[in-house]
Amino acid sequence: MGGNITDVQQRAIEELIDQQFDGDSVVAARRFREYLIERLKQGEKADDTQARRPEAKREQGSVLLSVRNLGKTYKRGRQRIAVLKDINLDIHEGEIVAITGASGSGKSTLLQLMGGLDKPTDGEVLYGGKNLARLSDAKLSEFRRQTIGFVFQFFYLQPFLRLERNLEVPGMFARTKRKSRIGHSKELSERVGLGDRFQHYPRELSGGQMQRAAIARALFNKPKIILADEPTGNLDSTNGQTIIELFESIRDELGTTIVIVTHDPAIARRADREIRIKDGALI
């Protein structure tokens, strides 16, 4: 592909990309670069593009999850610690969003509030226009079960269940029939490249394999959103790479929205969007 464009064109493209992308949206930049090269190959000038952001190519989906004026305060003894302050953001359908920030910045708490695992002190998390804090335990559980898929840093697979059964656990809470569960978990294990580990116990898997298994589990009830809390935090870079590629392919194939809490800049760069948090507030 590179043989068809001149070095000057190549440099121009890189300059343009440097101007347009500030280095945090690697995927978008890569897509934009591919797009420009394609256009050049077809004889069009690179500057015709009017420097469109890659989102332009990828239709921005409708808002799936809205966070409005969200605040969370914990009591520790007499002290009140504000973990999150006045957060406003929207998560769109089909995007990969990275939430970054230092340890203790409140990013995990934000993720958990978005997943309906806890109730905010102020503000609201809206899904389909409904305030999660207003839902009953049954409804909220159903929301987590059907809409959300959680992925954790430490995988949290059931040590005494074979992979087959581990993937089924969300189906158990959804009261899915065993028969349909088996086929589905087999399919998912193949989807994450663990088809040959289907009858293995977690202790027989590597860290990367365990996280892939956890992702397969999160996908079991076909969620709209995957909320991943430091999914690569416990993996080496190669395995981390595999995980992020898996997320991308899931988004591409299933249209699943993926929100990743991370402090790994490499992952953040590959997301469609990065949301930074510092001391409980967006920056």
Binding site: S108, T109, Q112, G115, L117, D118, D137, A138, S141, E142, R144, R145, Q146, G149, F150, F152, Q153, F154, Y156, Q158, P159, F160, L161, R165, V169, P170, M172, F173, A174, R175, R178, R217, A218, N221
Partner: protein, 645 residues
């Protein structure tokens, strides 16, 4: 909520997570409950065995020995009672007057001052009258006491007592064979009359037996009569049913040692049973006068042997023939050298005694020969060492169709066939309904009846009634009613008592187990918080978490129940294997008269207690898990997840 099968899958992983803890919990709680289960299994085995054996002997009948002791009059507490002293004074005056008149009539010497001094003393300080305890046995005092006893005596209103029990009926022909007051009726050990036993003929007290005779209602004794014995009434022998050990001794069989094996003892039982018709023994009855003459004759004999060859020896005016030790015969006069005056004086003295009521009567004696026609239950076996666990005797006392340990029982139907000359009416009374002990020196009269109840519930009610009415430990003056002939009536009480024990044992063991389980489940739940949080994150409701832990508790309790059951069954089986032989022997001894093929077992699973206890284990588990489970479902999943990461 989560499906049961899925809850089982997830709960099961918790058991696997804490294998050591699970194993320890199951072992400790299981052992605790297994003790109760083993007890229940053994008890059920015992109950079933007893029911099996109850079809033999008297166990299916509800017979009570209903007795009443008359109100006693304690003379010794009344020695300073002025009313009583007045009565004694009156008696004394009457006796002296009667004797003086009679002495005058028959021309016999009588001195009231020396023969009948007044039993009343006067206290030097207070001037009050009292009876010195040394004078308490004087004629006047005993006469006054007897009068008081007789005055206060009311016949036992048995009919009134039994009125509430429509199924009760009094069994006839029961009487203890007892010589009247002053007479003797004694067993002739080795065929020798007790009063005539020589120094060299003494019996080792351990070897001696002291049987007494009693007639007991025919229907009651019937099962004990050995049908293979051909009893010939024309021989004049009295038919009796005797306890096993007495029969053994009388057959000349050496008592088996305590450690003899089961088969040997069983063989011995059969031998005794088969040879029971060979057993005979003798009793000797002597009236007071006969005893007196016997004493005189013995004294003469001793005197003759000692002094006969001395010059100063003077032969008595009435000389008796030497008396046989084994015949219980009348004392015969060899030579009577009394003068006419002496004879006339003796006659006058006899007439005087008859007049004042102190004549001891004519000499009468009977030798009663018995013939064994059956074997009854014995004193529990064993060599008298109470510390040794003697299953056989334990079973014997449990079962028991007994007729009294030292009593030889006469079946009235067979007795009637014996010619009357061999069964003097002074001893053998076939008309009595009751078993009555006349007033003796203690001033207490005991009346006892055998009452059969067609309805065992009524029998138990009557027993209860007598318990409630009992005043003092002996129920003196009150009515006593206790089971006769079998322990069947006590079995229900034993069962009720057993149920109480099981209940308390369950409560105690259950309490301990609840503490153990509560803490184990509490810890498991606490350590499973993160996992619960993850489950919540992937869609579990609070109720799902609760269901998983409840399932976990049930699985754990079920394992405890299974382990307890296996251990309990094993222990019960070991007991069964160890003791069933001995127990069967004991049971067969208990029904010594009947050859029964039944066996006594210590193993029975057919009881509601077993599912009840197993259920209780699960309930205890769930109860102890309630608090930790409720707490766990109320937790904030985020906090739990953070705590661990």
């Amino acid at each position: 909520m989560i499906r049961l099968s899925d809850a089982v899958v997830l709960a099961h992983t918790k058991l696997q997570t804490h294998r050591v803890r699970t194993a320890i919990t199951i072992t400790i709680a299981g052992i605790l409950f297994s003790v109760i289960l083993a007890g229940v299994i053994v008890a059920q085995g015992v109950f079933t065995s007893i029911a099996t054996f109850s079809k033999e002997g008297l166990n299916e009948r509800s017979i009570l020995a209903v007795g009443r002791m008359s109100n006693p009059f304690n003379m010794y507490q009344n020695l300073e009672n002025q009313d009583f002293i007045k009565e004694v004074e009156a008696q004394h005056a009457r006796i002296v007057a009667q004797k003086t008149a009679a002495a005058k009539k028959y021309n016999v010497a009588y001195s009231a001052a020396t023969e009948d001094p007044s039993p009343i003393s006067i206290d030097d300080e207070t001037g009050r009258k009292y009876i010195d305890s040394r004078d308490a046995s004087s004629l006047a005092v005993t006469a006054a006491a007897k009068e008081r006893i007789e005055k206060s005596y009311k016949p036992f209103d048995l009919e009134g007592y039994l009125a509430p029990y429509s199924s009760a009926r009094v069994l006839e022909n029961n009487s203890r064979i007892q010589a009247p007051y002053g007479d003797t009726f004694e067993y002739m050990q080795d065929g020798i009359e007790e009063a005539l036993r020589g120094e060299d003929e003494q019996v080792n007290p351990a070897e001696a037996i002291h049987p007494s005779l009693a007639i007991v209602n025919q229907s009651v004794v019937e099962p004990f009569i050995n049908t293979s014995v051909s009893f010939d009434p024309s021989k004049g022998e009295i038919p009796v049913i005797i306890p096993f050990s007495h029969a053994e001794k009388l057959l000349g069989l050496k008592k088996l040692s305590g450690d003899a094996d089961t088969q040997t003892r069983y063989d011995r039982l059969n031998e005794v049973r088969n040879r029971i018709g060979e057993v005979t023994a003798s009793f000797c009855y002597r009236s007071a006068a006969s005893q007196y003459l016997l004493g005189e004759a013995q004294q003469q004999q001793r005197d003759l042997e000692k002094n006969g060859k001395k010059k100063e020896y003077v032969a008595p005016s009435v000389q008796y023939k030497p008396v046989s030790k084994t015949d219980c015969a009348a004392v015969e006069v060899e030579k009577d050298t009394r003068s006419t005056f002496e004879k006339e004086l003796a006659e006058r003295y006899t007439a005087y005694q008859k007049e004042i009521g102190t004549y001891i009567g004519d000499p009468v004696q009977y030798k009663i020969t018995i013939r064994a026609v059956g074997v009854s239950k014995d004193m529990p076996m064993g060599d008298g060492n109470p510390s040794a666990i003697d299953v056989s005797s334990l079973v014997q006392s449990l079962l028991g169709s007994w007729l009294g340990y030292d009593q030889w029982i006469i079946p009235p139907a067979l007795l009637r066939e014996v010619p009357e000359e061999y069964r003097p009416s002074i001893l053998f009374n076939l008309d009595e309904k009751q078993n009555r002990t006349p007033f003796s020196g203690s001033g207490i009269a005991m009346e006892e009846y055998l009452v059969e109840f067609d309805d065992p519930a009524e029998a138990r009610a009557a027993m209860k009634q007598s318990e409630n009415a009992g005043a003092g430990s002996f129920g003196r003056g009150e009515i006593s009613a206790y089971p006769f002939g079998s322990s069947a009536l006590l079995m229900d009480e034993a069962k009720a008592w057993f149920a109480k024990i099981v209940f308390w044992a369950l409560l105690i063991v259950g309490g301990i187990a609840a503490i153990i389980l509560g803490s184990v489940i509490g810890r498991t739940v606490a350590e499973g918080r993160r996992e619960s949080a993850v489950f919540r994150a992937i869609g579990a409701r609070r109720s799902d978490i609760g269901a998983i832990y409840a399932t976990y508790t049930i699985l754990l309790s079920a394992r405890i129940a299974l382990f307890a059951l296996l251990l309990g069954v094993t222990v019960a089986l070991v007991i069964e294997l160890m003791f069933t032989g001995e127990a069967t022997l004991g049971a067969r001894f208990a029904y010594a008269s009947i050859d029964t093929p039944s066996e006594f077992h210590f193993f029975g699973l057919a009881t509601w207690y077993i599912p009840m206890i197993l259920g209780a284990i699960i309930v205890v588990g769930l109860v102890s898990a309630i608090l930790p489970i409720i707490r766990s479902t109320r937790r904030n999943p985020i906090k739990d997840m953070r705590d661990d990461t």
